[in-house]
Amino acid sequence: MDRRAAFNSTWLAAALIAPQLILVFIFFYWPAVQSLYWAVTLEPPFGGGNQFVGWQNFQTVFSDNLYWNSVRISILFAVCSTALTLVLSLLLATFVDRQLAGYRVYRFVYFWPYAIAAPAVGLAFRFIFAPDAGFVSSINRVFPNLWNPALDGWDAFILIVIANSWKMIAYSFIFFLAGLQAIPRTLTEAGAMDGAGVMRRLWDLQLPLLAPTFFFLLVINITESFVDSFGIVDIITGGGPARATDLMVFKIYSDGFKGLDYSIAAAQSIVLMVLVVSLTFVQFKYVEKRVHYS
């Protein structure tokens, strides 16, 4: 006899799902359709009188070498900050998992940065790394002009990578730690009895078992660096110097809201959406094959 609890009423099921569906529709599909409409028209700032221009906005975007510059920087940013985040958060998580001295405190405080809003992170990093006045300015006293994110594009780029990673490490750390603690102690203990050292156990036992967590964090980190880096860029560098940190999502903001050119911004956000969706697709198609879930 089937004793599972089942909802026989389709209406009840629909009513329960409805709030979620409505939210998804209002906050995702509707804006997406709206921006698709803007992307193929020319939209005056105050609205009214859109004219259909077909692919013109996309052509303008794709024929702009500065847009490609922005795409290159965004990809580099995603790769660098994801790599930095994953490596460091895994390292911190293994330290805490091995219960090194003070691990209870670390386990507690490592998560904090993620709870801080991006603009606040940006402001803090701007102060700390300011070449004239920040804590890091002492480097410039020893090696003049070694560090100047206000004038040197690469310094500025490194700075936003560090700021973004600092925030994302906190998030990834929690997941890695949870993943590590979910590995049965018996496995690592058996390894230890067989004479495997710390590094050997990490490499052959824990890392392979962490693969699902690793894959999840890879997808999340790459997506976040594309779509959620705006606050940090806006406060720390404003896209400069000389467009060295003009990430795609920041360019959408500045063209759309500062420049009041909603159409070009809409076209760019469609491109960004397609890019992020296809990157995620590639990851699921090729990377996930190497992940074993149980």
């Binding site: 700032p45 105050f46 004219q51 070449p131 004239d132 206000a150 420049g259 009041l260 050119d261």
Partner: protein
């Protein structure tokens, strides 16, 4: 009288009382006013509303800061699209074109006529009213907080190289800056950031150089940028030279200190900035520092013209009720009355926008006060000559974004990534792209 009628009478009496209370609470006709200024200047805006609300009992201005000039413009546009816009909004100089073409505003000349306002258009300084006027000379917005750019110089540093006055020419200014740096009297003889308002817009106005064709865009949306071929290009090359010599320095919020902070603490001997910062400078400068202001220097052999007005004007938006417009008219009459125009400079560095207020302030000795001395130079600069077709202002579509393009190219030039001329050529090229898109977006529309 039956019991029923007693109850009814009681209910209706109660109803009248409630109605009266409600009437008392709503006695004042409210209207929304959004302003863009932030920080200390934002507080002054809020204070101005408070002064209006306390000056009479009929109307109430509900004033909301929007967190920046650009935000005020963005928010107003977003609000207009959902019919939630304010009656009055403070819009900066660069947003003028967008509002003129928006079809979302109540043109100021008409507004003054419709609501019998006291505003006298010819009392505004021509340099101010011309900037905001249409090509036919009609005002579509009300000039409000206004400023212009000045050279700020450190008198102590200047004294050490035998100078007592502000430099008149650019050559003299650069020589003095070099001498100060050579003598080790300051870390930098001149500091700048990447703001285009001083080097491009003000410089071009006082030298009577065009920034764009069609009289800087006043005569049509098909204007093209030309500043890469004027003396402005030489000016930027001279800045780069000073930078390479170590005489000049770049100071931005990202380097840790803005030009204002770097001037206030004595790092830099000269900076170019708005007279609006005159009050701030007084309160932040290192105690004991002697400093002064002068008109922006010009290249020797040039005939000086008036400098440009900066700041913002007040726009009345379309689609509000008659009562709200009456309240707005009362507010504008109040804000532009001589007494209030005189009040603004006492709490900020802004200049009086009307000639009558300026004369009254002179008579009352405002400019003789120690902490206000020098501000009259802003008036001299602004009224140096009657505005020419070029020095009257700039009217280019999406100018905010053009400024951003120039800024990025200047960053590339000053950090050595690009040759100065190549950077300016690129800025013009990209700026023209923006102008053409703007023209297409507003196809068939004429600049008023």
């Amino acid at each position: 009288m039956t019991r029923k009628s007693v109850v009814l009478a009681a209910i209706s009496a109660f109803g009248v009382m409630v109605g009266m209370n409600a009437a008392n609470a709503q006695n004042r006709i409210k209207f929304d006013y959004w302003y863009g200024l932030t920080g200390q200047l934002g507080e002054v805006m809020a204070l101005h509303c408070k002064r209006f609300n306390e000056s009479q009992t009929k109307y109430e201005a509900v004033c909301t800061g929007q967190g920046g000039y650009d935000k005020a413009e963005q928010n107003t546009i977003a609000a207009f699209r959902s019919k939630q816009h304010p009656t009055i909004v403070q819009i900066y100089d660069a947003g003028t074109v967008n509002f003129m073409l928006s079809g979302a505003t109540y043109n100021a000349v008409q507004f003054v006529k419709d609501f019998n306002m006291k505003v006298k258009w010819d009392d505004f300084f021509p340099g101010i009213s011309n900037y905001y006027a249409t090509s036919k000379g009609e005002m579509w917005s009300f000039p409000y907080n206004s400023s212009t750019a000045l050279l700020y110089f450190n008198k102590d540093h200047f004294a050490k190289v035998g100078k007592t006055e502000a430099p008149k020419t650019i050559e003299e200014w650069f020589e003095t800056a070099r001498a100060i740096k050579r003598g080790g009297h300051a870390e930098a003889g001149f500091c700048f950031d990447f703001d285009t308002w001083m080097p491009l817009e003000q410089f071009s106005a006082i030298h009577n150089l065009p920034i764009a064709s069609k009289n800087n865009g006043y005569d049509g949306l098909d204007a093209e940028l030309v500043f890469n071929k004027t003396k402005f290009a030489d000016y930027m090359k001279d800045w780069k030279k000073l930078l390479d010599e170590g005489v000049a320095r770049i100071q931005t919020a990202q380097t840790g200190k803005t030009i204002l902070q770097a001037f206030a603490d004595g790092t830099c001997s000269t900076v170019l900035t708005s007279v609006a910062n005159h009050g701030v400078m007084h309160s932040t400068v290192k105690p004991g520092t002697n400093w002064g202001v002068g008109m922006l220097p010009i290249y020797a052999g040039t005939e000086r013209k008036n400098s440009l007005v900066g700041g913002a004007s007040l726009w009345v938006m379309a689609g509000k009720s008659k009562e709200e417009y009456e309240a707005a008219a009362a507010f504008l009459d109040f804000a532009l009355s001589t007494a209030e125009v005189k009040w603004m400079p006492t709490v900020t560095g802004y200049i009086p926008v009307t000639q009558s207020a300026f004369r009254a302030m002179q008579d009352e000795g405002f400019y003789a006060q120690a902490d206000k001395a020098g501000r009259e130079i802003a008036m001299q600069s602004l009224t140096f000559t009657p505005p020419t077709a070029i020095s009257r202002g700039i009217r280019l579509g999406n100018f905010t974004q053009i400024r951003a393009e120039i800024r990025s190219e200047l960053e590339a030039a000053f950090t050595g990534k690009k040759d100065v001329q190549a950077a300016l050529d690129e800025a013009v090229n990209r700026g023209n792209g923006i102008l053409r898109r703007f023209e297409q977006t507003f196809r068939g529309k004429q600049l008023p």
